[in-house]
């Protein structure tokens, strides 16, 4: 496979994952701002920080509110991470790697691009927001379904999955890091209303408020939530799950190519950091410090994958 093709697949699926994560983030922000928060603008600010777009946003706008934040994250082409931008990137990459995709995957991406370009042509009024966000989620599911249902399990699939899980790991780590203070075990605040709001925001941002209840018997405690999002390998957006999947796909590649890769060494190290340990030891290490260093690990793995598989000249 061409190195460029591997890179195109990787970035195509990073972009698709980012679109979905951004939509989920807006959804959580919207819900909390609407129903729970005493400081809705503060929630929107944290949405912007989590999406790693604060610099661009602040350069453009003064202050945070629902209309401007959702517009910036959904439609603004100046924002390289807006849903509209990343869907275009995903589709451009899909065209670039067209010969590596099944017709089903290609058509799903192309239709997603056509549909979202149309839906996001005008600013989305608040009344339409839930529907638009659900379209984004559905289209994302359509592409994923086409990938799982029709693609050969070979290196093409591995690069697609690597893109998805590097992006997802990065996103989950950011989501937790922005709210890490709400997860710290602090006796005075336990069970307070503020914590509950923050916890719900966290869980909703990864579409896990319901699965958390099932998995933990609804035991809302900061340690449980942190454990669920960081270490629980049943949870498909947890850091441990992402790291394990990245390792898995890099192992397939190593096997198929018969060459050792430095990225797998790095990924295994990350997986080890997230395995066989309990959340208390992470709190001891310092949650924020821990998350920062995990974010660094993820970035290094991403760069190493690009080098190992010759995405660029």
């Amino acid at each position: 496979m061409l190195g460029k093709t591997a890179g195109g697949l990787y970035w195509m699926f990073r972009a698709l994952e980012r679109a979905e994560n951004t939509a989920r983030l807006i959804e959580a922000g919207f819900r909390i701002a609407l129903t729970r928060s005493t400081d809705p603008d503060g929630e929107w600010r944290s949405v912007i920080i989590t999406s790693a777009t604060q610099q661009g946003y602040d350069a453009k706008y003064d202050g945070y509110d629902s209309a401007r934040v959702t517009d910036y994250l959904l439609r603004d082409l100046d924002n390289q991470s807006s849903v509209l931008s990343v869907i275009k990137q995903a589709r451009d990459n899909a065209r670039l790697v067209r010969t590596a995709l099944t017709t089903e995957v290609w058509m799903a991406v192309n239709e997603t691009w056509m549909l979202l370009t149309d839906v996001l042509k005008e600013p989305v009024p608040e009344t339409d927001l839930p529907e638009v966000l659900s379209i984004i989620r559905q289209q994302s599911a359509l592409v994923r379904g086409a990938l799982h249902g029709t693609m050969l399990r070979n290196d093409i699939y591995d690069f697609a999955r690597l893109g998805t899980f590097v992006e997802r790991a990065d996103s989950t780590a950011r989501i937790i890091d922005v709210k890490y203070y709400a997860l710290l075990p602090s006796p005075s605040l336990v069970g307070s209303r503020m914590d509950n709001v923050q916890w719900e925001m966290l869980l909703r941002s990864v579409s896990a408020h319901r699965s958390f209840r099932w998995a933990t018997d609804g035991d809302y405690a900061s340690a449980n939530i942190a454990d669920f999002l960081i270490l629980d390998r049943r949870m498909p957006r947890s850091l441990a799950y992402c790291a394990a999947t990245i390792c898995e796909n890099l192992e397939y590649l190593e096997e198929e190519y018969g060459e050792r890769s430095e990225s797998l060494v790095l990924a295994r190290a990350l997986r080890a950091r997230l395995r066989d340990r309990d959340i208390a030891s992470i709190f001891d290490e310092g949650l924020h410090e821990f998350l920062s260093s995990v974010l660094g690990d993820i970035a290094r793995i991403g760069i190493q994958i690009e080098q190992d598989y010759r995405f660029n000249e």
Binding site: M1, L2, G3, K4, T5, A6, D92, R95, L96, R98, T99, T103, W106, M107, N110, E111, M114, D155, Y257, E259, Y309, R310, E313
Partner: protein, 500 residues
Amino acid sequence: MCPAERSASGPGNRVALRARLVNMLSMSKGKTYFSEMTSDTGVRDPYQSYDAWFAQQDNARLAKKSEEAEVFFRSTGITFNVYGDEDAEERLIPFDLVPRIISGREWDKLSKGIDQRVRAINAFLHDIYNRQEILRAGVIPVDLIAQNDAFLPQMIDFSPPGDVYTHIVGTDIVRTGEDEFFVLEDNARTPSGVSYMLENRETMLQMFPELFSKIKVQRVSDYPKNLRKSLEASAPKNCEGRPFVVVLTPGIHNSAYYEHSFLADQMGVELVEGHDLRVVDGHIAMRTTRGYRKIDVIYRRVDDDFLDPLTFNPDSMLGVPGIMDVYRAGNITITNAPGTGVSDDKAIYSYMPEIVEFYTGEKALLKNVETYRCSEADSLKYVLDNLADLVVKEVHGSGGYGMLVGPTASKKEIAEFAEKLKAKPSNYIAQPTLSLSTVPIFTEAGLAPRHVDLRPFALVSPNGVEITPGGLTRVALKEGSLVVNSSQGGGTKDTWVLKE
């Protein structure tokens, strides 16, 4: 068709359609153009079965089919990009659901003529880059080659494998009467449109399977397989094992990118860009996830000028630095060969009857359109005096850009064009306005005649010439228009060659 649909749209609709066709028949009386479906006495033979089927259809169903086809084209992404048109970055070429039908007998004649012509072109190219017998014999003026930008000195004294220069040719043909076929352009550089030939057929098969069980149409679907075989057969002589073939595209922003990816996909070969390639140990190699891999044949869809920044345009980011050295060393096959443009510009075109005769010893089977070379004083005078009746084209122009269609141009346009012509006469040729044949298209009101041309595709390899039965029919969708180019609002049709 299910009974419910029948009753929903009613027989009245079909009667209306029928009436429309009869209308066309009467319209074609006293016409100034050749109608391929109808003649003065009724429906022409090749269209008989189709006409019988069509009479059973109703308008509403066909209109729905037509919409479905458009949705299908959009979601498959069969689009083309229009240069300089930011708003509509990607457009669909409109597809018309009425096929253009050619009888087996007509096709035999056509394909023999194309075969003869592509052989002559390859012999001509070999001669021009080697002994130049045709210049010595004084059959064509030396200036036409010496002053030709498309002539590449780098190709002198070099022979590609099998002496094949134009591996893929898309000859543009127009029809003006029952037995009147003319070649309009030879397109020996990097002709495009073959993906539409294939997708149009695929779409027709999906939409109207019953038609194909009733009417026996020659297959076009072998084209990708044949293309790959033909490219492999053109590999360098020293190539060991199965030749490794790639398609080279300028990238996703090129107007024909869809076709490049389609062909690579259909052949099962890699689609590469210049920056994926480099010279490694005297060969061209592509950067894979596991390092560089040697390649043997490049089907390039990049123009000569951009092929090698070390040899041609130094600013080109689309090519491969050093590829011309590898090529001349016989370690890579480039298809079509660099420098084929010297055989298909519009000035050389005017000498094609002589060229065919010079190399084959036979009269050209396909006619040339009468062509005035504006570089010649007498011709220039005639052209200037008759601009309103002529079509004037740039010698190196393509895509319907930069041309004047006299009969439909305004006085002002003609006057402006006359100035350009006088400023650089050798840049232009002129031809009489041909009354292109018509084939009906489907409109909301029923069938309506529109002018068409035809681009069949020929594959040339050391093993011979292979022409896919059919080709791309382009159709001017505007009533009365003679410009069929997609960049100028033309559409396409499926092209049927009947089995007989």
